[in-house]
């Protein structure tokens, strides 16, 4: 499986997938809908699927000594690695904004979503939905990616909308906590996002394997 992952990274991946990990640093920006950075990461991953199809990667991989199910797992592994790199990178501004810059005026006066653990929970949720809707949708056919990506765009912007709206409801204002205030709630949302990511990805991969086994290449 590691060999397949290396193949995805060296041969198949679009450089854009790596470059767009840097959008994790958007979480430093005040007055910016920071969840959009996660959408950009997904756009970068989409580029890898596009370049893989252009390069006829499925046929090439099928000729290698791997099982058909490994082809699916390889693509998921690649997405998960890129996604986790993004999460690690975007955690840096989150930690900085939660600690040394927690009282910075530009962040305190920010009308949009704050970079805290709740934000990271939403990041995980969006990445899990990408794996479910786009990656899972792609493996229904092994070549069609436009429709699953459009479906993901709709859902992603819905998630961004919810993330940017919820804390404006007075009862839920704690979601936009600064520093370590309401840390229990913050950690709860983060944990829920992490569990959602794991569950959505696992469900998507199991379904994709079953579907792809039935496809004629």
């Amino acid at each position: 499986m590691i060999t397949l992952l290396k193949k995805e990274m060296k041969l198949t991946a679009s450089p854009v997938s790596y470059l767009f990990i840097l959008f994790g640093l958007l979480a430093f920006l005040p007055g910016y809908p920071i969840l959009i950075g996660t959408f950009f990461l997904c756009l970068g991953l989409f580029q890898s699927f596009q370049s893989a199809r252009e390069a006829n990667d499925m046929l090439y991989t099928a000729l290698l000594p791997v099982a058909k199910r490994d082809m699916v797992k390889g693509k998921y592994m690649f997405c998960i690695v890129i996604e986790l790199c993004y999460v690690i990178l975007t955690t840096v501004p989150v930690l900085v904004r939660m600690t040394v810059w927690s009282d910075a005026a530009v962040y305190r006066s920010n009308a949009l979503m704050n970079a805290n653990l709740v934000y990271l929970g939403f990041v995980f949720l969006m990445l899990g939905l990408f794996n479910l809707i786009f990656v899972g949708g792609f493996f229904k056919t092994g070549y069609q990616f436009a429709r699953p990506f459009v479906a993901f765009i709709i859902v992603a912007f819905f998630v961004v909308g919810i993330g940017e709206t919820l804390f404006h409801i007075p009862a839920l204002s704690a979601l936009n906590a600064f520093g370590f205030t309401h840390i229990g709630l913050q950690a709860g949302v983060w944990l829920t996002g992490t569990v959602a990511f794991t569950w959505l990805t696992a469900v998507s991969m199991c379904r994709a394997i079953k579907r792809f086994e039935r496809i004629d290449l």
Binding site: K10, L11, L63, L64, P65, A67, K68
Partner: protein, 240 residues
């Protein structure tokens, strides 16, 4: 004689085509020419043999192991090529090879270099810069460089000039002498006459003959008929 690959009652249906009850075996040190007109089912059979197409039913065994569940181990021991290399057109051959060989513990770098020279391939070129014939050779290069015990080649001689075809058929004979089983599909009867030991003839998704070349000549060719003439006659009879 040891059967390295056995196909039994392979069936695959499409809305407008059906591959019916395909059964044959490939033996060590034998070259099998898989012949049939375009659309007869050669590629579908080969794809089904390699799991690229999902058969409706039938049994596929290599080295006495069922293909299903043993794909990784079996694919390590077989070489497969689908005509011209039509993947990663904008990557240098050496980059494709560098990744490919990591999948094969048996990768034979010496054989790779030999075939590279024999095929006059420049590994600094990209597939998109190669002619159709050179693309076929590039695909063969990958299939031949990992000590495969069975070679399954879908129309390997299509697009090759007569000299390259002759070189390739000579390579098949060399591989056969080393005990490799070779199955190659073609619609060029002279390729079969030149190097095949056995003939597998498919018509409309059904195997109509699987025997040695000599048996085929004795049973299917009328007096004085060449292989090509007898196959053309059988195709014409089938259309009536």
């Amino acid at each position: 004689m040891m059967a390295l690959c056995e196909i039994k009652d392979l069936t695959k249906s499409y809305p407008s085509f059906r591959l019916s009850d395909i059964s044959f075996s490939l033996n060590a040190g034998r070259i099998t020419g898989f012949i049939g007109r375009n659309g007869a089912g050669k590629t579908t059979t080969i794809k089904s043999m390699l799991g690229l197409a999902q058969p409706d039913c039938g049994e596929i065994r290599y080295f006495d192991l069922p293909f299903s569940g043993n794909e990784r181990e079996i694919k390590q021991r077989i070489g497969f090529s689908t005509g011209a290399v039509n993947y990663y057109p904008k990557r240098k051959i050496k980059h494709i090879v560098a990744v490919t060989k990591t999948f094969y513990p048996n990768w034979d770098e010496r054989a790779y270099k030999e075939y590279l020279e024999l095929f006059s391939l420049d590994e600094n070129k990209m597939p998109c810069e190669l002619s159709e014939g050179m693309k076929v050779k590039c695909n063969l290069l990958l299939a031949l460089s990992h000590k495969a015990e069975i070679l399954i080649l879908d129309e390997p001689t299509s697009g090759l000039d007569p000299f390259s075809r002759d070189e390739l058929l000579t390579i098949f004979i060399e591989l056969k002498n080393r005990g490799v089983a070779v199955l190659f599909s073609t619609h060029i009867t002279s390729d079969i006459e030149k190097c095949a030991d056995d003939i597998l003839y498919i018509q409309n998704g059904k195997i109509v003959a699987h025997c040695s070349k000599e048996e085929f000549a004795a049973n299917c060719c009328k007096d004085g008929e060449t292989l090509e003439e007898s196959i053309l006659r059988m195709e014409r009879d089938n259309r009536i």
